[in-house]
């Protein structure tokens, strides 16, 4: 069996799991946020009763993160709905905006706070839940109705996916990052190239990446249509997880004779910085060939590109340089926001490097403009801005207005592009 099949076999109480099997799995964690939480709670109450209790108040993790710093009253109402629900249910893990427990982006919060463990099953009401496969678990996005079901029962009927293997070997050249790896793969197989499948990433290159870089790769499995992304746990994974939680976990690994739908091999030494041009994550070109493409702004943030490692990489490019366009710095979580001050390059904090480069002051942590959102959202595209962004999607209108364009890139390519005022290969700035 593959690692995905082994995890699902365990979660469904079976000895074996084949792709295509419809199985009832037990959830270890159900995550929801302010956009889908109220609807999920609505379904839960409608189906299980107004006074029903969630299946396990320590396994339902509620992380408001999408529309937090807006004046929109309905968004405030939605956060309040979560607040009241968390209180009435005695939800142990609720990261409340406006309090010291607030964290920010759900997919960075979950691993930070120790909710991601190898061998487990994690469902979230958000498509980028696949991020957590980087910690060696089965993690996938579901809708409100499915989540309402899990909330009441702790179980979900799912179809076991076939696995596609992506073996990446060799040392990544300087200036090339995990974001470039996943964009390259999506460019090769297309936005529906992995529909219904588990995308399993392996090889020496993957092993050389730290946990945050692995999260960047698994985060975008959904952009190829994947059901989940997954990377086998190793010493780095275990060290990360153990530093965040005392809960026990079980590591699974694919058998040597496990069957895959396909195996794609890559030589990472030949990888270069790439971008996904408008209007699709699979419209991938090299940053070099797009070097004359003028841009209006740069956005560095989100679960995909707003982690500590992303800001370290951006700062390494921006150190001692000046930006030519408005450059938004949006840390994904409170922990990342703090790291902007504590992490240093050559004795200078990241926040100082960004300030001296002329970037905007770091925004409070949230999803912010990754998906546009309410019109007063920080960093939102409201006209026909062309933005190089470290986010995950660039379909029409993704960051706000229909006239705007979003170009997906790594934190290094985004920083290089900010310096040049057009798309730029970070190796050439």
């Amino acid at each position: 069996m593959t690692i995905t099949e082994k995890i699902l076999a365990k979660a469904s109480g079976r000895d074996f799991c084949n792709p295509g099997d419809n199985i009832w799995v037990s959830a270890d964690i159900l995550m929801t946020h302010d956009v889908c939480g109220p609807g999920t709670i609505g379904v839960f109450r409608r189906e299980f009763g107004e006074d029903a209790k969630v299946w396990d108040r320590e396994k339902v993790v509620i992380i408001p993160d999408h529309y937090i710093f807006t004046s929109d009253k309905m968004c405030h109402r939605n956060v309040d709905t979560l607040r009241k629900f968390a209180k009435s249910q005695g939800i142990k893990y609720f990261y409340d905006p406006g309090t010291s427990t607030y964290s920010g982006v759900c997919h960075v919060t979950l691993p930070e706070k120790g909710h991601c463990r190898p061998g487990e099953v994690l469902f979230g009401t958000d498509s980028h839940t696949c991020t957590h496969g980087a910690l060696g678990e089965f993690a996938t996005g579901i809708g409100n109705t499915d989540a309402g079901f899990v909330m009441g029962t702790g179980k979900l009927l799912i179809k076991a996916p076939a696995s596609m293997k992506f073996e990446i070997e060799g040392e990544l050249p300087k200036g090339v990052t995990a974001k470039d790896i996943i964009l390259r793969i999506i460019g090769d197989i297309g936005v529906d190239g992995a529909t219904y499948c588990a995308m399993e990433f392996s090889g020496s290159t993957i092993e050389s990446l730290n946990v945050e870089e692995r999260m960047t790769i698994c985060n975008m499995a959904i952009e190829a249509g994947g059901k989940n992304g997954i990377i086998a746990p190793d010493a780095k994974t275990i060290a990360y997880v153990k530093s965040r939680t005392k809960k026990p976990f079980e590591c699974f690994y694919s058998d040597k004779d496990a069957k895959y739908l396909s195996v794609k091999k890559y030589d990472a030494t030949r990888f270069v910085p790439v971008v996904a041009m408008p209007f699709s994550p699979d419209n991938v070109r090299t940053a070099s060939e797009m070097k004359d493409f003028r841009i209006d702004r740069v956005y560095i943030g989100s679960c995909t590109g707003g982690k500590i490692e992303d800001f370290k990489m951006a700062a390494s490019v921006l150190d001692g340089r000046k930006v030519k366009v408005t450059t938004f710095i949006v840390p994904s979580t409170v922990e990342v926001e703090k790291a902007l001050s504590s992490e240093k390059i050559g004795g200078k904090s990241l926040v100082k490097i960004f300030e001296e480069a002329g970037c905007e002051k770091p925004a409070p942590p949230s999803c912010a403009a990754c998906l546009g959102g309410p019109v007063d959202t920080y960093g939102r595209s409201n006209n026909d801005e062309i933005c190089v962004s470290t986010t995950n999607r660039n379909f029409p209108g993704r960051m706000g207005s229909k006239g705007s364009q979003t170009i997906l890139a790594s934190a290094m390519t985004a920083a290089a592009s900010a310096i040049k005022g057009h798309i730029a290969d970070p190796r050439n700035v």
Partner: protein, 182 residues
């Protein structure tokens, strides 16, 4: 309309119609289980389509569409897991989406909510042959779509168990009907 026959005008779209085009993120402050907000979601269905789409799916100021059937191409519903996507289509009066292929979370959400029938075409040319406004008649029993003007029949893929789940009104109602839950 009987449960077997779905008829009306079609609205034709292209490849990779993602959830941001189906229901832009700024409207996700609406909660689908709230009846008034459910209705409002319908008014915004497919309003994220680029201006190159000259016909609006739901006219300005209205809550319901004239087009109960959407004809899509590849990978319809890709992107986010937001259930607001099939909900907005259903709230607007969409009965079925006929596409070459669907993104999986969207497909699953159609079934779980029972909002629309997600049906795959047996051949990929439907989106090229039909124009927005054409009248069709779908017979689910026969897995057929008939173009009213020409009488031409297009085969659809059998949706299997999906049909009964959507017909029952979604996964919870289906599970109750079958005695799987109380």
């Amino acid at each position: 309309m009987s449960k077997n026959i779905i008829k009306g005008k079609v609205f034709v779209v292209g490849d990779n119609i993602d959830t941001d085009q189906i229901i832009p993120a700024q409207y996700l402050n609406l909660v689908p289980t709230n009846p008034e907000e459910y209705r409002k979601l319908g008014s915004y269905a497919l309003c994220g389509l680029p201006d190159s789409y000259k016909t609006r799916f739901v006219k300005d100021g209205e809550f319901r569409t004239e087009y109960p059937i959407i004809i899509g191409a590849n990978n319809f519903g890709c992107g986010s897991s937001r259930e607001h996507a099939p909900v907005s289509l259903g709230a607007a009066g969409t009965k079925a989406v006929i596409a070459n292929s669907f993104a999986r979370i969207f497909f699953r959400n159609c079934i779980a909510t029972g909002e629309v029938y997600p049906v795959e075409t047996a051949a990929d040319n439907l989106c090229k042959e039909l124009k927005t406004g054409d009248e069709v008649e779908i017979q689910l029993d026969k897995n057929e779509l008939k173009v009213v003007k020409t009488g031409k029949i297009h085969k659809l893929k059998d949706i299997g168990d999906v049909r009964e789940v959507v017909e029952s009104g979604g996964i919870f109602k289906y599970a109750r009907k079958k005695g799987m839950i109380k």
